[in-house]
């Protein structure tokens, strides 16, 4: 079973104090820690589990700058066989559609049985790239997958719906699945593990390798364009409780008695 996984390196913003930079179109990324997109860490783990079970290869692709090598190497350390990076100045400013377009062209050159992506990226949250790649490659897809059973020439996938309901669907291979968190437990990668793959070559594909015109990628190949960023309006917002921890505790006590009926 030959599996392709698409991964993205993203800034960790949940825990960070982020601000909008001078251009007004980006956040200030200096000082932010970056890592493999959370959803993609489950996708790569799932690919490696399938490889361990059925044999074959796992190849990871990422469209991004040289920094993305770090996340690609993490995937290699987890057990991927090869890593390929799509990089070209022409890719700059691409949205989900343009990104999918470039990835699809690269994947077309490689025989595969299964493509895995994350359900969404933590940064832009398009939730779009996977399904668009499938459309461009004319293969079936299933999104938000939290369980996979491989059968002869097809896959049975559990798709997560709302409220704890799941849908079981069957797709013919080759197919693309977008992976949901919780499907497995991504393995830990040690520094030693990363060191072992430090020398491994990461092949770079540019525009000329992809049979695409400059206007088909990057900003000019995009559906949408970012005008400006702003902080979400706070609206009514919360009443912030200030003071010593004991005073805050006292206040919480009162709210619980008053509103929560705490005995």
């Amino acid at each position: 079973m030959n599996i392709i996984v698409c991964i993205k390196r993203v800034p960790d913003t949940a825990d960070a104090d982020i601000s909008i930079d001078k251009s007004g179109k980006d956040i200030d990324k200096s000082g932010l820690a970056f890592d493999l997109n959370e959803w993609d860490s489950y996708a790569i783990e799932e690919a490696i589990l399938l490889k361990e079970k059925f044999g074959g290869t796992v190849t990871v692709y990422s469209l991004g700058g040289e920094d993305s090598n770090e996340s690609l190497r993490k995937c290699l350390a987890m057990g991927a066989d090869d890593a390929i990076r799509l990089s070209d100045p022409a890719f700059a400013g691409g949205d989900g559609y343009a990104t999918a377009r470039a990835l699809a062209e690269a994947l077309r050159q490689k025989p595969f049985d299964l493509i895995l992506t994350g359900t969404q990226a933590e940064d832009d949250g398009f939730g779009q790239v996977g399904a668009v790649i499938a459309e461009m490659l004319s293969i079936p897809h299933v999104s938000i997958v939290n369980r996979i059973e491989v059968q002869e020439k097809k896959v049975k996938a559990h798709r997560e719906l709302e409220g704890g309901l799941e849908e079981v669907v069957e797709v013919d291979l080759p197919a693309l699945l977008t992976i949901q968190t919780g499907i497995n437990e991504p393995r830990y990668v040690s520094i030693m593990g990363i060191r072992k793959v430090a020398k491994k070559e990461i092949k770079v594909l540019g525009l000329s390798d992809l049979n695409l015109k400059p206007e088909e990628v990057g900003l000019s190949g995009s559906d949408i364009q970012l005008e400006n960023l702003f902080l979400p309006p706070v609206g009514e917002g919360a009443e912030m409780m200030e003071g010593k921890p004991e005073e805050i505790a006292q206040k919480v006590f009162e709210i619980l008695k008053d509103k929560g009926g705490m005995a």
Binding site: E227, G237, M241, G260
Partner: protein
């Protein structure tokens, strides 16, 4: 006539809330562009749903086919491709839900329509639209314009972003459209629904919920929050990463893919407030959020906010309340 088309979402015989929200937003936009609102309804035996939708729009476009009994991205793509190609709506609106996330991106790519996903704001602008999306887990809003020129555009709309507002009924007609589907094989087939195993806990009945998120860092610290819950007579709940990491059972998860809860008091500890979480708890009576990040989106749904390190404040609150209860 300019048409705005929404795609009705329904499951197991019931319209989903997002459908009503799409109708409200779609109607407002159709009025802004002096156009009309249509609802595309795909299914099998869904005439009663068509009746329910009828007066909410200028028309319901009803496509019935046995092959549409269960949602399938492939049948949806085929039917909607035909419908959109024929009617050329200026805007097609789809829910950014498990269903919409599944079929909208492929459909838009197939039709070469510019798509903006997960929109929380949409405005008509001459012959295009501008939208607002949230990025970085809801910490930043992005004003976004369409780069490719229409005449048709597509958006997926975040569930809960636009409220349903009752408006005076529209004339409403139900137009039955023949299904373009044939017996041609599908590469994806629906098999069945299953309920996720949730275990024993029922968090939906509690008056007080103490919900813990990824900020708790590891399983060993969960008991600290459990103690607080026990002290105040509350029940322990959590955000999704806590379940993904198997620190708490699935039955504790609040949010779109977990439970929807409406306790009298909801205390969110170390939870950022991603929309999928907020969707499951925003109906709570009173929300108290504890987070070390003053910009965490959870503070815009909470009534009370505590900016603090949870590891420091939670034990103090627990001890103090224990003392006060005596």
């Amino acid at each position: 006539m300019k048409e705005i088309m929404i795609v009705a979402e329904h499951r197991r015989g019931e319209l989903r809330d997002v459908t009503w929200e799409l109708i409200s937003k779609g109607r407002q936009l159709s009025e802004a562009i002096q156009g009309e609102l249509s609802v595309a309804l795909l299914g099998k035996g869904v005439t009663s749903l068509a009746e329910a939708l009828k007066f909410k729009a200028n028309r319901v476009l009803l496509i019935e086919d046995d092959r549409l009994e269960y949602y399938n991205s492939e049948t949806y793509e085929r039917v909607l491709t035909q419908l959109i190609t024929e009617r050329k709506p200026v805007l097609t609106m789809i829910g950014h839900t498990a269903t919409g996330m599944d079929f909208a991106p492929g459909l838009a790519a197939h039709l070469k329509l510019p798509l903006a996903t997960d929109c929380i704001g949409i405005d008509a602008k001459e012959d295009t639209f501008s939208v607002i999306r949230q990025i970085y887990g809801g910490k930043i809003n992005a004003a976004v314009s369409f780069l490719k020129k229409g005449p048709s555009y597509m958006v997926t709309v975040r569930a809960g972003a636009f409220p349903f507002v009752e408006k005076e009924p529209l004339p409403g007609e139900v137009i039955s459209i023949p299904s373009p589907l044939t017996d041609e094989g599908l590469a994806r087939r629906f098999l069945q629904y299953v309920e996720a195993a949730t275990g024993e806990v029922d968090i939906t009945q509690a008056d007080i919920l103490v919900a813990v998120g990824r900020g708790i860092k590891d399983a060993d610290s969960i008991p600290m929050v459990k103690e607080l819950a026990d002290t105040i007579g509350g029940v322990l709940a959590c955000s999704r990463p806590v379940v993904d990491k198997k620190w708490l059972p699935k039955g504790c998860q609040v949010g779109t893919s977990g439970k929807t809860v409406k306790p009298k008091v909801y205390i969110a500890i170390g939870i950022s407030g991603a929309f999928q979480h907020v969707a499951g708890m925003k109906g709570s009576g009173t929300i108290i959020a504890i987070n070390k990040d003053p910009k965490a989106p959870i503070f815009s749904v909470a009534q009370y906010g505590i900016v603090a390190d949870l590891f420091k404040i939670v034990p103090v609150i627990k001890d103090k309340i224990k003392e006060l209860k005596k």
